[in-house]
């Protein structure tokens, strides 16, 4: 279906990622705070897309909408870390302060209050975004203050006396127990967004080596030797993906590399800081991949919830281009490669490869069935490698030091290091790079210092909302793809969110199903309907009912979870059962309303 929509643009000779329906609608929404039918018609004409399809885009993304939003859009974070921080109480504080219900716009069109899943300040929750500025460590008092300043200021003055989280609430960046690879520059007191400083500390060394010393197949061999697996969650062997795409690229005569910077997992802020503090590592990784597979264009698709990532990346692309590290004939090698930075518009599922590509094409971020995989038919129908930010950030180091050196680090089939991020509940929340194989105990209790106020860890979720949840008693498991999945958890993206003993396990279940329901792309039946039915069931668990009624619901929930896991088209519906299942396993009595926190003792 969407291939024909792409072909409509191809027929016009127009494959510009910045002129898509989505990007044009973003401008309209930014300028007018609403998308009208006239706007849709105009965007349809300009982008070469049918009106209905453009309407479909306008109603799909969280940032867009056909109902008017306020001149000041207040987006309160409902991500997992903020849930752990305050149990969504921040929503109530802002509702009260603004006099608006969530989802409403004030009658004068001045303010609207919306929900957003994760702003990437999980080290400083609860957080709220107001017109591109993010404020953390929210309290009822701060909410009142923000509301007052929004109300008093004219629509153009949206600054507040509160310090923005970007400047005030920076997490720790540390490397523990092994070499500095992805935090090589970030963990040092340098400004790695400056090209000269970055190059002085190794940036582009891998690309230079590749272009001057290695053939593409030799680059592939190094990546092969590193045993690097995708850091976005699925853990697919990077070199295998590249090889497949390289073979297809030879047939198609064209290929693309896309950096998946849609770090949508609530509770993770790893990619955000890689982009904002070491953008050249990503650009270098893209170019290395492009060289290896025969692609001449790279794209970085960045989630819109990170307002500072896109400008930082664009400045870096510009600097790299000026230095001859992007553009035509890099370093006289004959290899040409350039990068576009594209911003998303608020959709978690766009972190899924096929949905991300549709979004880059300016369409609804709906998942497509495989085969064909993106490495066969990806962006604009051409072979495309989609790699996560952290995956790409490893490549410069791998080429400089050799794949074998990388493969020496790690545990089992999980080689190299991994960046993890800890949420605000910890004594030392931050972003840490550790060798794979490091135990959770080491990370959470020693590096992270355990939870604040000496509270025990009741539950910890790793790898985002689709990752299993472990009780505080199960922290001896080493960080690794297979190692974690054996205990019903997920390495995923590496974001770690811990709840302390004050949380009700039923609220975690509700939080997760709300997320599943809100972010489903709506295509496959299990996720679209099952997400809502699951939410209704877990919400009912908090109602006073007979034990039989509760048990009947839990039985039905069990069937639903199986259907979601085995029936869903992508991991959004397919993996949400994992954390719910772990809640049932570890906090079963609590879900039934029998007792609270009785099943497990937390670790402290």
């Amino acid at each position: 279906m969407s291939q024909n929509l792409v072909q409509l643009r191809r027929n016009r000779g127009d494959l510009d990622v910045h002129g898509t329906a989505l990007q044009r609608l973003k401008h309209v929404m930014h300028d007018k705070r609403v998308i009208t039918r006239e706007d849709v018609a105009a965007v349809a004409r300009a982008s070469g897309q049918p009106e209905a399809a453009v309407w479909g885009v306008a109603t799909y993304y969280g940032d867009l909408g056909t109902e008017r939003r306020g001149r000041t859009r207040v987006k309160v974070c409902k991500g997992t870390a903020c849930h752990a921080a305050c149990g969504d109480a921040s929503v109530g504080w802002l509702e009260k302060a603004l006099g608006l219900r969530l989802g409403e716009t004030s009658a004068d069109g001045e303010v609207s209050l919306e929900a957003v899943y994760c702003l990437g300040f999980c080290n400083a929750g609860p957080t709220v975004e107001i017109e591109g500025k993010i404020y953390g460590e929210l309290t009822p008092e701060k909410a009142e203050l923000l509301a007052k300043e929004i109300r008093s200021g004219s629509s153009t003055a949206k600054s507040t006396s509160l310090a923005e989280a970007h400047d005030a609430l920076v997490p720790r960046f540390e490397v523990h127990d092994g070499p500095a690879i992805v935090l090589e520059r970030i963990a040092q007191p340098i400004d790695a967004t400056d090209l000269a400083a970055a190059r002085a500390h190794g940036a582009f060394g891998g690309l230079v080596k590749a272009l001057t010393e290695l053939r593409p197949d030799q680059v592939l061999a190094e990546v092969d030797a590193s045993q690097l697996r995708g850091r976005g969650g699925a853990g697919f062997a990077t070199s295998q993906k590249w090889r497949f795409a390289a073979a297809n690229a030879r047939l198609a005569g064209e290929a693309y590399v896309v950096c998946n910077a849609d770090e949508g997992d609530p509770g993770s802020y790893i990619d955000k800081y890689l982009m904002e503090r070491d953008p050249f590592a990503i650009i270098e990784g893209l170019a290395i991949c492009g060289y290896a597979i025969g692609a001449t264009r790279g794209f970085i698709y960045v989630r819109s919830e990170y307002p500072r990532s896109v400008p930082t990346l664009r400045r870096a692309v510009e600097a790299a281009r000026e230095a001859g590290l992007l553009g035509k004939n890099l370093l006289g090698s004959g290899f040409s490669f350039d990068v576009d930075v594209v911003e998303g518009a608020g959709s978690y599922v766009c972190g899924e490869e096929t949905a991300l590509l549709r979004s880059l094409e300016g369409l609804r971020g709906m998942v497509t069935a495989r085969p064909p995989s993106p490495a066969d038919k990806g962006l604009f129908g051409k072979p495309t490698v989609v790699n996560n930010v952290e995956t790409l950030a490893n490549l410069g180091w791998i080429l400089r030091h050799g794949g074998a050196a990388y493969a020496q680090i790690g545990v089992g089939k999980s080689r190299g290091t991994k960046a993890v991020s800890l949420n605000e509940r910890f004594v030392r929340p931050g972003m840490y790079e550790v060798p794979l194989g490091t135990t959770l105990r080491r990370i959470l209790l020693e590096i992270g210092g355990g939870l604040k106020d000496g509270r025990p860890i009741k539950a910890v979720q790793i790898g985002g909302p689709l990752g299993g949840i472990l009780p505080g008693s199960m922290l001896d498991v080493p960080l690794g793809f297979e190692e974690l999945s054996e205990v019903g958890a997920l390495l995923g993206h590496g974001g770690i969110v811990a709840w302390d003993d004050r949380v009700d396990a039923r609220d975690i279940a509700i939080h997760l199903f709300e997320f599943c329901d809100a972010e489903s792309c709506g295509k496959c039946f299990p996720c679209r309907i099952g997400g809502r039915r699951g939410l209704e069931i877990v919400k009912r668990l908090k109602e006073p009912r007979s034990a039989e009624a509760v048990q009947a619901d839990l039985d039905l929930l069990g069937e639903l979870l199986e259907t979601l896991r085995l029936g869903s088209l992508c991991a959004h519906g397919g993996a949400i059962p994992d954390p719910i299942q772990s809640l049932l396993r570890h906090f079963g009595h609590e879900l039934k309303g029998e007792s609270k926190g009785a099943s497990e003792k937390g670790a402290s």
């Binding site: 072909q7 191809r10 209905a52 309407w55 199986e562």
Partner: protein, 934 residues
């Protein structure tokens, strides 16, 4: 990429067979097949909801889950390709549990009342509602999931398509059908998650979207969410009859659903080879005319005071026969003429020409191809040998380059238009040469917007570039064509600069189009009335054939030169001899052997001299040489050019018989009206534009005293003293086959649901989808390159008449509109409007919707203006579907001298605003404005 890589790529994409096991059976299948494909082939039922064989696999509903040995869990059969050694268990317990649970989820948001209904299809014995079928398969009658249900308002603003999202399961089949079958993109998903829903246009309504009412969405909807009002209300049907559409020359195969002797609804037949399960707003929806209140249901005779009275068949036919006999006795049989019908069956046309020739002894029989595609017949015979398109519609799916000229398929031949759009969407190149910026022109690689009446110059210019730049197929030209040397010399003077000065097409575009056409193989030409309805109609057809010959684009798939025939049976009516010059299959009357074969079979002598062509019939009537005219299924007083002249002719006749289903405009002058039958009420065959002879099957009976057309003609012949032996239309076909070598293998029995494409020389011949694979059928057995000079059209713009009028069709209507105007199609497209370019409109002070007058040297008509860039400055466009706007008062008597096909496409006119206050034009549904991509 290197050539070596390209070669290996091709090898890799060659289909391989794999062996797999499905439910214990070892089977072989193409590696491109999915598990579902194989299961269906093997007769193994796997329930589905989002699957439609016409659409690409989608994988949304997750109901087709099956077990695969070694897989981590169940897989969706619809999107999983087969692999060597794969072991599939369609009854896998886990897969079944998941699928059943998905259906239960669906039912939790599906109206209980709708679930409880039943609509059994008598042909299959199964419920027409796929969700109910699947629910029953899993034994589900209710859902354990309780919770919020959607509550949507129903949308019934469209005359045919009713949308009730409460019954929608969001499978997306409608969205994909609109995209992948029709190429219109009127539908989309909107919102996300639980709120996801299907919208037409900008969540407005079908009539306010790009929708062209083709019904592809309705035809694929698995529930009752999208349906026809009438169909839904009745739910059950008694029978389904597969027949052939009686609108344009595409020849769509239709499933007519009948209940209580009435047509309830029409669906495209999935097996139909020319439409592949698709149809258009006319074929699918516009059938109510057959039961219109003003249908003729009794023979009518004119009283002396000019009013009509009902008569019995005996009286009416007796009167006609007696009068004809008297005229023949007094003035000879050539004082009588017959206009046969390109809307009627081959058998009826054959019987009418037999009646004229055998019962009366005159060759005065002609059909409306005279005024549309007679140049195709003659031109193609002269250039290539046969009077038919060289290739098939299926070639659109495989061609690399389409050259479309003088045709507007997305309106005139919508199913072919959709197929062309899909070809473009799969990446085929598209060249459009047309004076109007039609929908396909907006999608083209090159659009040549030429001046009306300059086709020959443009085509010669293309040939010039192809020859000049050495892009022609030297081998083909040397071994299979003749006349190249003279031709090359001839076209030397059509350099692009000169062509630009004649046609107005920039020289650079001529070059670009010539290169694209000549270097993209295979390339197929499709053309229409914009080529034939010209003073240079035959030369235009031959110039297009020249292009195909030059580039070797003949006798192979995806190539050729193919006419888009106007009426459903304009090919067949001529094929079977309803022409003044030919017996069946264009065999000349003066060929003694042929004539003798017919004389022997018919037992009557046949004159070797040709009879009158339609325009000559009118002239001779005015000269009082022609006394009687029998008009069968035509409305010459509306559709023929220079209508005043036609009216004068009709008024001069002693006997005018109108044999039709309505009292049409021509009937105003008639003495007798004979009520015939619609295509739904009779059996026979139509031949579509790809030479495919297909069955028409009786679905319902003619209303009142109306009779089957064949019965009327046989009865009349008997009363004229010549009783034909035919018991049925199948008998008639047997006689055609016996007397016609190229139809020898055709019989009703053989036609089935796929039909046969002539030539079919023997009973075991499979038919001929592509002509000339083994050589040409011209006298020299070579294709003939024809040198012809461009000549200015019969009329050109002058100070008095500064605009050139082009006439043509609208999407919702068909020719004289006698059928479509009696259907809901008028709600979609309520009137003829004059298209005029914004620059011209501004100069004349005309704004969109103004009431204007269009005047030619012959007359004037008034209607509303539509200001649009679809026409070039200096041109205006008008259709001819509504009698209120007598477009053909304006058109001239100019015609191609060899076949007398009129120059409908070039008329000098003036346009002016009509002073005073006038009502606004009735609204046109958005998709019918055809400006979605303006």
């Amino acid at each position: 990429m290197g050539a070596a890589d390209g070669t290996s790529g091709k090898q890799e994409t060659k289909r391989r067979l794999v062996t797999l096991t499905i439910d214990g059976r070892e089977v072989k299948a193409s590696e491109r097949a999915t598990i579902l494909d194989v299961a269906r082939r093997e007769g193994i039922y796997i329930p589905t909801l989002c699957y439609d064989p016409r659409l690409a696999p989608f994988g949304a509903c997750r109901v087709c889950m099956v077990g695969v040995k070694g897989a981590r869990g169940p897989v969706a059969a619809c999107t999983t390709p087969v692999r060597e050694g794969m072991v599939v268990d369609t009854k896998d317990a886990t897969a079944q549990r998941v699928a059943k649970n998905v259906v239960e989820l669906v039912l939790s948001d599906y109206p209980e009342a709708a679930l409880a209904r039943e609509a059994i299809d008598p042909a299959t014995g199964e419920d027409r509602n796929e969700l109910r079928r699947v629910a029953r398969h899993f034994g589900l009658t209710t859902s354990r999931y309780q919770g919020e249900r959607h509550a949507y308002e129903k949308d019934d603003r469209h005359p045919y398509i009713k949308m009730d999202l409460n019954e929608c399961i969001v499978c997306g089949r409608c969205v994909r059908a609109c995209d992948e079958i029709q190429g219109t993109f009127a539908l989309s998903y909107a919102n996300r998650g639980w709120a996801t829903k299907i919208v037409a246009g900008m969540d407005s309504s079908f009539t306010d979207s790009a929708c062209v009412s083709c019904g592809a969405c309705v035809s694929t909807c698995p529930t009752g969410a999208l349906d026809e009002a009438a169909f839904r209300a009745k739910e059950t049907i008694d029978k389904t009859v597969t027949t052939t559409c009686a609108y344009c020359g595409v020849g769509c195969s239709l499933d007519v659903h009948v209940r209580d002797g009435e047509v309830v609804a029409i669906d495209p037949a999935l097996e139909g080879p020319s439409n592949l399960g698709h149809t258009c707003v006319k074929g699918r929806f516009a059938h109510q005319y057959a039961r219109a209140a003003d249908r003729l249901t009794s023979p009518m005779m004119r009283r002396s005071d000019g009013t009509w009275r009902e008569a019995s068949w005996d009286e009416a036919l007796g009167f006609v026969a007696d009068k004809m006999k008297a005229i023949a006795a007094a003035h000879g049989p050539d004082a009588i003429a017959f206009i046969s019908s390109s809307r009627c069956t081959n058998e009826e046309n054959y019987v009418l020409q037999k009646l004229a020739r055998a019962a009366l002894g005159t060759n005065n029989i002609d059909n409306c191809s005279r005024v549309c595609h007679s140049p195709t017949s003659l031109g193609l015979i002269q250039s290539l040998g046969e009077s038919g398109g060289t290739n098939s519609f299926a070639d659109i799916d495989v061609t690399a380059c389409l050259f479309l000229t003088g045709a507007n398929p997305t309106e005139g031949h919508p199913v072919v238009g959709a197929r062309m759009k899909e070809a473009r969407l799969r990446g085929a190149k598209l060249i459009v040469a047309d004076p109007r910026r039609i929908e396909l022109a907006t999608m083209a690689d090159v659009f040549l917007q030429l001046r009306p009446g300059t086709n020959v110059a443009l085509y010669n210019g293309l040939a010039h570039v192809i020859v000049r730049d050495g892009l022609f197929d030297r081998d083909f030209v040397d071994t299979r064509a003749e006349g190249f040397e003279a031709y090359a010399e001839h076209i030397a003077k059509y350099d692009p600069k000169r062509v630009e000065s004649i046609t107005g097409v920039p020289a650079a575009l001529v070059e670009k189009a010539a290169h694209l056409y000549a270097t993209t193989k295979p390339a197929a030409i499709f053309y229409g009335l914009g080529v034939t309805e010209q003073a240079q109609g035959v030369p235009g057809v031959r110039c297009l054939a020249n292009l195909a010959i030059l580039t070797g684009n003949l006798g192979k798939p995806g190539a050729g030169s193919n006419p888009l025939r106007g009426q459903n049976n304009v090919q067949g009516s001529s094929d079977v001899g309803a022409l003044p010059t030919y017996l069946t299959m264009y065999r000349k009357l003066d060929d003694d052997a042929v004539r003798k074969a017919f004389e022997a079979r018919w037992g009557r002598p046949i004159k070797p001299q040709r009879g009158l062509m339609i325009p000559e019939m009118f002239s001779q009537a005015i000269e009082k040489k022609l006394k009687a005219l029998y008009v069968f299924g035509e409305d010459v007083a509306q559709t023929d050019p220079n209508v005043s002249h036609v009216e004068e002719a009709l008024r001069s006749l002693e006997l005018l018989v109108v044999h039709d289903i309505f009292e049409n405009v021509t009937a105003k002058f008639a003495h007798v009206m004979l009520p015939g039958s619609s295509f739904l009420e009779k059996t026979g065959t139509f031949t579509n534009a790809e030479r495919r002879v297909q069955m028409v099957r009786e679905a319902v009976s003619p209303p009142g005293n109306a009779r089957r057309d064949l019965d009327i003609l046989l009865d009349l012949s008997k009363r004229l003293g010549y009783e034909m032996p035919h018991k049925s239309s199948a008998d008639v076909m047997d006689e055609i086959a016996e007397l016609t070598p190229q139809w020898r293998g055709i019989s009703h029995e053989r036609l089935g649901k796929q039909g046969l494409q002539w030539p079919v020389p023997s009973k075991d011949h499979p038919g001929t989808p592509i002509l000339y694979t083994d050589g040409f059928t011209t006298p020299t057995k070579r294709a003939v390159l024809h040198s012809v000079d461009w000549e200015p059209p019969g009329e050109s713009a002058s100070e008095r008449f500064p605009f050139i009028l082009i006439t043509g069709r609208q999407l919702a209507h068909y020719n004289s509109g006698t059928q479509t105007r009696r259907t809901g199609n008028v709600d979609l497209q309520p009137t003829d409007m004059v298209e005029i370019h914004p620059a011209d409109a501004e100069r004349l002070g005309i704004v969109d919707g103004d009431f204007v007058e269009v005047e030619s040297a012959r007359g004037k008509v008034q209607t509303w203006a539509r200001v649009t860039t679809r026409v070039a400055p200096g041109n205006v466009f008008l259709s001819f579907h509504f009698p209120e706007v007598k477009t053909n008062l304006l058109t001239s008597g100019n015609s191609d001298p060899s076949v007398r096909c009129p120059e409908y496409k070039v008329t000098a006119v003036d346009v002016r605003k009509v002073p005073g206050v006038h009502p606004a034009p009735p609204p046109i549904a958005k998709g019918f404005r055809q400006d979605a991509f303006d």
